[in-house]
Every structure is written in C-alpha cells, then in structure tokens.
Amino acid sequence: MAVAEAPSYRDQTRPPLWRDVRVLRVGGQIAFLAVLALVVLYLYGNLTRNAPGQLSFAFLDQPARVDIADTDFSPSQPIRDAILVGFINTIRVSTVGIALALLIGIVVGVARLSTNWLVRKTAAVYVETLRNIPILLWILFLYLAVILKLPRITEAIEAFDVIVLSNRGLNVPWVVGGANATGFLLVLATALIVALLVGVVRTRRFDATGQPHHRWLWGAGTFLVIATVGYFALRSPFALTIPERDGRGVQGGIRLGAEYSALLIALVVYTASHIAEIVRGSIQAVPKGQTEAANAIALSSFQRLRFVVLPQAFRIAVPPLANQFLNLTKNSSLATAIGYFELTRLTQQAIANGSPAPPAYLVLMAAYLSLSLTISVIANIVNRGLALEGR
C-alpha cells in the first residue's frame, strides 16, 4: 500500500526549484567555481599586464652568478643547479636536525617525568625557556652573539682536545674510510643480518620451550663479534680523524660552517623543546589503568614501559611528531637571515640577480611542498602500521 501511494505523495510535495536540495547542490557548486574562476582570471590578467614576459621558466638555464661557500659550485652554472644545491642543503640540515631533535626531545621529555626533583625542574625550565622565544631569535642569537663572538681561528678554543671552536665554525671528529672501507661496510651489513637471524632463532626457541630468549643480548653479541673480527681482518678500514689547530687553519675532522652550526643548533634545541612536550604528553596520556593492569600481572618496571606504556604512547605521539619534523624542515628557511645557502636564500638570490619573481617562487613553493608531502606520506605509513586493528 505504501509503495503504491509513494509516487503521488512525492508529486504533491515536490519543492519549488529554488528549494530543491539537488538543484541547490549543483547550482551552489557551479556558482562557487564560477566566482573562483573569475577571481583567478582577474588576478592573472593583472599579473600579465603588470609583469609582461616574466612568466616563463627559461630563467632556470641562465648562469646563477652566485658564490656558494663550502661547495665547488661555480657562478657560471645555471640557476637550476643553484636551486638544487639549496634544496640539498635544506635536506642536509633538516635530516640531521630531525635526528638530533628527536634524540634530545625524548631525553628531555622523559626527564620531565623523572622522580628526581632537580632533573624534572631543569627539564621544565629548558622546555619553557626554549619554546617561548621565537626560533628566529635563537638562530640570530646563536650566530651573532655566540658563534661570531668565538675567538678567531688563530686563537681557537680546543674543547677536550677533540672539538675546535672558532668564529669560522665548529670542527668535530669524523671517520674517514681507508682502502677497505666498502668491504667493511659489507661486513657490517652481513653482521646485522646474521644478528637479526640469531634473534629470530632465539625467539622461536623461546616460543617452543619457554626458556629465556635474551634475543637482544645474543643479537648484539653476534654483531659485535663479526664486526670486530672484520675490522681487524681488513686492517682498520676506518680511522677517526680529530681536528687539530694548525696555524691559520684546522687539520682533520669535519668542519661545520658558522652559519650551518648556528642554524643546526638553534633548530635542534628549539624543536627538541616541542618534542619533549609531545613525549611527556603522550606518556601521560596512556590511561592509568594500563599501568595498574601491568602492575597487577606483576610486570617489572622495565617490562611495564617496554610492553605496555611506550607502545601506546608512541601511537599517540606519531602525528604531532611528524608535525614537528615538518616544522623543523620549514624553519630551516629562516637561515636566510644569517646567510646559510639553503633553498629560500638561493631563490631570493636568483630573484635579486634579475630572475622573474612569479615563476621562481612557484619553483620554491613546489620544492617545499614536495618536502612536506614526503614527510606526511612517511608519517601516514607509520601511522597506519601502528593503528589499532579490528576495532
């Protein structure tokens, strides 16, 4: 009965055209797109009138006419190459920065939850001081008021005889490969694989017999034995060089330029203060019942952290951590202020040398978006791997 009546019911109350939701949906979107298209056309029209002939990407092949410190870049190379150098420098400071910031951030974040009053308060002061002052101010302060105020190279400070500090930057110890370096890397890779296999075997044995597996102990032992034997068999393939002051220069080690050092240190300590808060918040966000349950089944405090609290805290921490990594990468563009040759700085330089601004900025935006996208994609993959299943 209801089926039979339905058509007439619908016919009677069909809304007028201007109140029909389906019409409104399509019409609204068409209107939106039309307005958008008009705005874009208007702006584009103004642009072509204001800056005729400035919209081609041909400038990328022009000579860059710029000297980049610490590289063998020659000013006659095209702008394309200069921007690529900037891109690589951005990645160079970002990846090192992300690794160090994560390390320091975790340490400080855990320290904020310490039972030791002094450790807890020191970590709190670190976090509150660092994150409440703009990153740009840290970069400028470290560069202008700390690193450039260091003694000149002839009177450089040698800290603990391994680090040489001067106003030209930091020189730190570094490893250099000898004749058998590649061979030794292969040995290390083999050692890693064998160690993992040993770990798997120990786990299987534990599953089968229930005897303690000690898989980390076994794995690390295997790795160390193979690595040590390989090192001596290949007659010291790697050597540590320690920087030493030598009149007007420094011999050995690796030199981090003044700008690079200031930028890296500022990015690391600033981002670490944010990461520390994420780490602390994530650990505290694990429900108390989880800790209590772990205590109830008599897990040791290490087991409680390793198997109950940290896995859940990590799941909470991944999205905000990815955000901080993204922020660090984007903040590396502030090096423009102190003259480290990264992406933004070199693009600005190209524009100052006469390249057309609109296409140059499009290239710049595309470069940053590709970095952001890469980090987001990695974070999403990690996130999906960690997501709870079956709920």
């Binding site: 103004n46 409440n132 703009p134 302060f141 563009s333 933004t344 900025y361 940053y368």
Partner: protein
C-alpha cells in the same frame, strides 16, 4: 560488601588528588631531599651532575646580566624598542590605548573572579600574573624618567578599578565579554590612529609585534572559520578548494610566503593601483597564513561536536545554515579556545619573521639600533637580542599559562 572485596556498583566521583604541596609542607627537609634527590644511586649521580651544570649555567647567566652586559644600549633605546619610530608627540595615544585595553582586561578578570572566593585561588591568581609583573618591572628598570612608571601605575589602577566593577557585573553581561574584548581592541586601534594619529606603517617595536599578532588573529578568524567549514562541506568543489588552500599554505614556510607576498602582491593589483605599505603586505600574508592554520583548529572543534547535536537540530526543523551557526559552531569554537590561544602564541612568535622582510618590529629594531653611531660595531647583539628575547618570553609564557588554566576550567578533553 562487608569484607570490602567488591566494588560499589554505582560509580562514585573520585575525589581529586590532594595538591602536592600540602604533602611537602609536612615533610622535614632532610627527608624531602632523600626522597626527591637521592632515592636511588642513579638519581644521586644525576642530582650531582645536573647540580654542577645548573650552577654553572646560572653563574654564567647571572654574570652576563649583572656584570658583563652593557645595558646602556637598551636604556638609551627603550622607547625605540617599545614603539619603534612612532612619533614621540603621539605617545599619549599609546597610553590611552593601553588604558582602554586595561579596562577590558580588568572587567574580564573581575567577572571571572566571582567564581573563586577562596584566598588560595586568589593567591594562585597572583602567582599566575607574576611573570607579567616581573616583565613590567624589568622594562621599567630601564627607564630614565619616572613618567613611564607613573603612567604604568595609572594603567594598572584603571585595570584594578575595572576588576572591582567586573566582579559586580550581572551574569547576563559577563557572557558578552568576548564582544567587549573585540570592541576594546577596535577602540584601542581608533585611539591610536583616529583624528590624525600615525598609521600602522609608522608603528614599530613591541607595539608593532603585538598589533600584528592581535590584528592577524582577529582578522584571520572569519577566514579560518569559513575554510574550516568548507573543508567539511558536502560540496566536493568547495571541499577540494579548501583542502588545497590549507595544505599548500601549511606546506610552505611562512618566510617564503612573506617574501612572495612582499614582492608579488603588487603584481596582482590592477595597473595604476599603488602598492600597499610593507606593513599591510606583511599583515595580509600573515592573515592568509594564519587562516589556514585556524581552519585546521576549527575543523578539530567541529569534529568534537557530537553528531546527535546536528541530528537534534534537524529534528526541530532548523535549516542547515542555522544548524551550523547556532548549534554546531558555538560548541565547536568553545572547545577550541585553548588551542586558539596556542595558535595566538605561535603567531606572536612568528611576527618576528617580519624583521627579515625589513619591518622594524621588536626583533627588527633590536638589530637596527646597533647601527646607530654610538653603538655601531661594539658587538652588543647579545644585550639587545637578550632584551627582545625576554619580552617575547614573558608574553608567551604568561599566555601559555593562561591557556593551560583555560583548558582546565573549560574541562576540554574531559568530555
């Protein structure tokens, strides 16, 4: 039940844990040190190591502040640091604007104070404002005449009177307080610029930093709300546009956008149209930038509103527009107030980037004053940057404490 083995079936509210300090007061110092500093061998070692580091860092910092630093560069340029090149003859306008803002802040604080009558919470309120008061005292310690101190006292007195007035306001009025804040901001702006006052392009220093931050957050708010709503729209065209806008802006550093804005905004204007001032261009970029971040905050708020609210609104026959603006949005925005304060803090810090494109806000002026004849080439960057850093720190720290308190008071995350 009698054996105390089974739990009561009705959930009783768990009493909040006693605040820590009540316990600490009863503990004798020796025991406190043992419990909190030397409760294990590892902690003992950590205490000694950290103790040495902390004492050394404190020694270096105090020696810099009280012995080696040459603060006369800050003393001579205090007005520059606070207001930049703002015409000195117009300074009374700044104090008037401060007075207007003090009235609004006093009214708000007074209205909020009715909810706490105990002396303990009053003490807490005093403790909370301590960083800001210390900041004021430090700034005043650099003045050379007593006038600024007197005027500051007057502004504080106005705030105190408004506080008293605010605590007697009827409830119905105190719910309109956000409107009062916005009105006060506009009134302060008018006091600064109306009737021949210097326009924003002549402001500088800390004044410009705060104005750009406040102006940025207020003006980007409508954009952020629209983009946040658009991102959840059922129209694919609108949604795609909003997602694209938000993700592109969020994927690119602010300094890059500032460069793009300051160089190319003029190119998009019709020919014959004067290129706007650098401040305006910077502010436009900041608004477009903050709008994208606000949109994500608003979206988070929208997601936190239960679906039942929308369904209930539909059930009583509200139109989609009314549902959004009367039911969903108010609840969503209430939930994100603490996040909004956080957003404001990061915007406040981000205004320092304007120094790179050549504006003399706090950081810009802190560097510019070193090019004056008297102070050129003497390596005083440490002093001016430390002073600027202190101002940023006091502002951001006070605001982040306020955000934490708001979060607790609104009970966000507990529902």
């Amino acid at each position: 039940m009698d054996l105390g083995l089974s739990r009561p079936t009705v959930e009783e509210p768990v009493p909040p844990p006693e605040p820590e300090r009540h316990d600490q007061r009863r503990v004798p110092p020796g025991e406190w040190v043992r419990d909190n500093l030397f409760n294990s061998v590892l902690n003992g070692i950590l205490t000694v190591v950290f103790g040495v580091i902390v004492v050394y860092a404190l020694f270096r910092a105090l020696r810099f502040v009280f012995v080696s630093a040459r603060w006369e560069v800050v003393e001579a340029n205090l007005t520059n640091l606070m207001v930049g090149l703002y015409p000195r003859s117009a300074l009374p306008r700044v104090w008037l604007a401060l007075g207007i803002l003090a009235v609004a802040a006093g009214l708000g604080a007074g209205a909020a104070s009715r909810r706490r009558r105990t002396s303990a919470s009053r003490l807490d309120a005093l403790k909370r404002s301590a960083p800001a008061l210390v900041g004021l005292l430090v700034i005043l310690s650099f003045t050379r005449t007593p006038l600024p101190a007197l005027l500051t006292a007057a502004v504080l007195a106005v705030a105190g009177l408004s506080w008293l007035g605010g605590s007697r306001l009827p409830e119905r009025f105190s719910r309109r307080l956000p409107l009062v804040y916005v009105a006060a901001v506009f009134a302060a702006y008018l006091a600064m610029t109306a009737a021949g006052g210097p326009g924003i392009d002549r402001w500088g220093g800390f004044l410009l930093t705060t104005s750009v931050a406040v102006g940025g957050i207020v003006l980007s708010f409508p954009l952020g709300v629209l983009l946040g709503l658009g991102r959840r729209s059922s129209f694919p065209a609108v949604r795609t546009f909003c997602v694209g806008y938000i993700e592109i802006i969020r994927g690119v550093p602010l300094i890059t956008l500032l460069f793009i804005g300051s160089v190319t905004i003029g190119l998009f204007l019709p020919p014959g149209f004067n290129r706007p001032e650098l401040v305006t261009r910077g502010l436009v970029v900041i608004i477009l930038f903050t709008g994208a971040y606000l949109a994500e905050t608003v979206r988070g708020g929208l997601q936190s509103v239960p679906v039942g609210q929308t369904e209930a609104a539909k059930a009583i026959g509200l139109s989609p527009l009314k549902t959004t603006f009367l039911i969903v949005l108010p609840q969503a925005l209430r939930n994100v107030i603490p996040t909004l304060v956080g957003q404001f803090i990061s915007l406040f810090k981000d205004t320092s980037l304007l120094a790179i494109i050549g504006l003399i806000e706090l950081l810009g002026i802190a560097q510019a004053i070193l090019f004056q004849g008297d102070f050129r080439g003497q390596g005083l960057q440490g002093e001016t940057l430390a002073f600027a850093a202190f101002l940023y720190w006091v502002s951001c720290y006070s605001m982040s404490r306020a955000a934490q308190r708001l979060e607790r008071r609104l009970g966000v995350g507990e529902r």
